[in-house]
Symmetry: C2
């Protein structure tokens, strides 16, 4: 049997998985990222953790196929991180080479949402499909494009940066500095901004009943979906507004790479049917019939393990 | 030396090229499509023409690597035409198999704009690049997406159907029946509709001076660019409006597949600098810096021969 390591590195934690070639997770670990100590320190600790896990499972070094890693930010040729979205490290760092030297294994690195998408193709909602789009609806929006079974990385590793497609020219200001980006409308942050903006002029609704009881009175996207599910018209209209933009943005992608499956994950996707039914009802009017033919729009399956499973999948892609 | 046939089949004419493996066209021919006689008749005449050309150049059959063909409409797996955009033939036809049987050669078929894009990568403006988007701005808009050197066909052959991305929800009616499609705004037809709509309320401009002298008084996109180049403010504003939408639509694509080169061809692209300068000036505000990094937006180079050169290139892709 051959084995793979999958690593999901985030701003706070680094998650590790030791998987067999069939995609079964044999061992899960997590350490603090502690990125302020520098990348060299961080990658040394990653190498130590990997070695510890290998010894714990008594696996021969020659049976380890390699180490895959998902990281936020654009990644070039599955090696070089152009810039680090969440770490105080200088960009253009050849993470694959550095970690390869420290571990002695083959290392492949890719953008975190690319990696998650690959995980869904290997072990999740998109098993058996070769034209897939993954979309993570979280604080921001990330995308992963799989065309004919391969990740679309692009010239500078920015393939799948769908959160920053302009869908409303001169629209809402986005955290990136541009206006009208997809993620300014339909990420958790986007939904919360819209809800807060509406609550400023209308507090006569169930959403405000929920929010006003919370410390800090801060809206979370989940509150909006919860209130909508309980029948609050005010919140239902925000969900309608959100699913309209998701449908519009997704439909654009259908005409670029013509996927057979779209997998939606991230915190916002946990809203479930109210979200997916809305998208399904609205996307047709934006899309050519040939692009809708056989199309499935599915929730992600792998949840918290998507990052490590997908990272391991890099070695097989 | 090995040789390739490239075929560009359109509603009126079928163009043939016999090329050597270096991309040099040794012989050019053209016959009428005459599609009403049925596909079997048409493909038989294609096979005859190919044989005639081979004999004329005295090339051994074993030195022919195959036949590539570009055709309007979505094509599945470079074999099956899902539906014929310009011919009265039933869809889901395995053109590669039929023409393969009639000629005895390996045959690959793809969408005409995919093929043109591949031609530009092989012999035109995008030589040496592996992440490329081709856009044909003609009567409609077609796109070809090359990612890591390979054409993105998609699940149903609709990869690159960028003319039908919705860029203005509930916008101008498109020929496809949807509203707000990219091509409703920036194709030659789109430009002409916009100009005619504006001329209906304002005839005090150079564009009207040109149009009013023409028989039928029908606007052509070229008239708009010509009047703009001569300084007509009315026409300059239409060009501004058009390049704004082209920049917006193209910028979306930059965030999906992150190309290093965008090649723009088709009749509208002949407008030259006034078009390309406008796009270059406007696209930045819609695009992340990482997507603009090193990006080139170039006019297509191959012109009328793009179809046959690109079709031949299919056999090398």
């Amino acid at each position: 049997m051959k084995y793979l390591f999958g690593i999901d590195i985030g701003g706070t934690n680094i998650k590790f998985g030791l998987l067999n070639i069939d995609g079964k997770i044999l061992l899960n670990e997590s350490i603090k990222t502690n990125s302020e100590a520098g990348y060299d320190d961080c990658f040394s600790r990653i190498a130590e953790e990997i070695e510890k896990m290998r010894v714990e499972k008594n696996i021969d070094k020659s049976d380890i196929l390699g180490v895959g890693m998902g990281i936020p930010g654009p990644v070039l040729h599955q090696e070089i991180v152009s810039f680090f979205a969440n770490f105080p490290w200088e960009g253009n760092l050849n993470v694959a080479r550095i970690l390869g030297e420290k571990t002695g294994y083959r290392v492949k690195v890719d953008n975190d949402v690319n990696v998650i998408t690959l995980g869904e193709v290997w072990q999740g909602s998109a098993v058996g499909y070769s034209d897939v789009i993954g979309m993570a609806l979280g604080t921001g929006i990330g995308g992963g494009i799989v065309a004919d079974g391969k990740l679309v990385g692009g010239a500078k590793g920015a393939g799948g940066e769908i959160g920053h497609m302009t869908i409303v020219p001169n629209g809402k200001l986005c955290g990136c500095g541009k206006k009208g980006c997809f993620e300014a409308y339909v990420s958790a942050t986007g939904i919360e901004r819209e809800a807060e903006s509406r609550l400023a002029v209308n507090k006569n609704n169930k959403l405000w009943d929920i929010i006003s009881k919370k410390e800090g009175q801060k809206v979370e996207a989940k509150d909006v979906f919860d209130a909508a599910k309980s029948g609050d018209e005010f919140s239902l209209d925000i969900v309608d507004y959100t699913t309209e933009y998701i449908a519009h943005g997704l439909s654009i992608l259908l005409h670029v790479t013509n996927p057979e499956v779209v997998v939606i994950g991230g915190g916002v996707a946990l809203a479930g049917d109210i979200l997916f039914d809305g998208i399904a009802a609205k996307i047709k009017k934006y899309s050519l019939p040939v692009c809708m033919d056989g199309l499935q729009i599915l929730p992600a399956k792998l949840g918290n393990e998507a990052g490590i499973v997908g990272a391991a999948a890099l070695l097989l892609n």
